[in-house]
Symmetry: C2
Amino acid sequence: MPFFVKVGTKNAFCKARSATFADGGAMKGQPISPTALGRLPLYARALREMATRGVEVASSRQLSSVTGLEAHKIRKDLSQLGSLGRRGVGYRVADLLGTITMYLSSSREWRLAIIGCGRLGNAIAWHICAGGGPYRLAAVFDCVPQKIGDRAGGVEILSSERIPAIARERNIDIAIVATPPRAAQGVVDLAVAGGIRLVLNFSPVALTVPDWVTVRTVDVANELFALSLRVPTRSRSRRRRPSPPAASWVTL
Amino acid sequence: MPFFVKVGTKNAFCKARSATFADGGAMKGQPISPTALGRLPLYARALREMATRGVEVASSRQLSSVTGLEAHKIRKDLSQLGSLGRRGVGYRVADLLGTITMYLSSSREWRLAIIGCGRLGNAIAWHICAGGGPYRLAAVFDCVPQKIGDRAGGVEILSSERIPAIARERNIDIAIVATPPRAAQGVVDLAVAGGIRLVLNFSPVALTVPDWVTVRTVDVANELFALSLRVPTRSRSRRRRPSPPAASWVTL
DNA sequence: TATTGTGAATGCATTCACAGCC
DNA sequence: GGCTGTGAATGCATTCACAATA
């Protein structure tokens, strides 16, 4: 059972990996920090791209220029996967990519339902349909009668009333809510009734759910707002950072 | 020139507000922490909704149940705006809403360009067109000749080649990139050439930009990934949190 | 009693600095 | 000399606990 432990050093985090060597999982230290985990797909993409270009070895600085993240951060993240990379040389692209994909492959397929098949829902449906990854579009719902029976992302659109039943029937893991704000709470309630515990919400409202359900909201207006905060109003204490395009996300 | 200062107390943050009373802006302490600022729109929405329901006074607990955030956090955030709210009573909805909207109103209009008018770009175009807020859709670009001349979100679609010229002509502040991944870097280069310094990127690639440009990437696949990390694999150290629907975002 | 406001504690991510290798 | 790996320092957000107040 991996968890972070307080050990001798001041920063528990630094020792967390070695602290979990004992659990003897397939890979050495599972408890990679969640933020680092979230960046692994980015590294994987960069490495794949480098691999197709025939690059064999990549330094953290090169990875930095491709991903836009600081070399510091990259090394710290990668060090959590173990000691790949050779000092003075860099990381072997193929090996690193292999290890990362091992970590990423949850060897699990996630079954998605899109609720609300307006312009946005439709776009997401096709996006998922096209994109690789372990995500499968398993159902699409809408409450507009005219749309029912049409197809989106290769799946037949069903009536929203049937969400709870179909969610169980098709083993839906994740509901993507792309309805108008008004309807969002109603459909998420149906999804919860269907046993869904992960919700990705694109409508600009806060959804109330039981505490065993995780909601993640992506609000375009909020993204724009967060972005516009970034405008250099008066050259705010501008420390020279070589490439700071990495934006910090607003935490809800 | 607002900035955080180290003062007597151990936590500089706690004193940051009072430390900047001196700057004498229209509102007392401008330097609200960025994360708190990012949550203000959420509070505003909740308060507006309460106001329309005729609620006069709201406690942090009530706000908590509406927004899904912990009461702790809400009080901490709101305390940064000054001492609104009366102890033992709560916050006056109208007053609080007024103050928050004051903080939010940058009294500025942001002019957007959407680059790439496929399904996603089109959806975003209409989303912005419909949604209120200080964001105006000022241009839409696509590189597919067939689409040029069509309209999206009430704006004529122009050829991507014209991005630099139109960006200057129409004073575009923010570029929204919704192209296929291949084309993204190319169009963002054009946007940068047109003097755009804020980019919201929906394509799943890291964009390389000069350091005066801020890019914020929203990647649906990444969101799904981050969400699927949240699945309770083995009831991880589950501390009883009353309502933790608030998801923490993956930081790039 | 109910609720805000806030100093302090905690936790986590980032950044720094440099030891250890090529 | 260049580059990784990592302990420590820093910074910031969250959480806690409780004094102040209606």
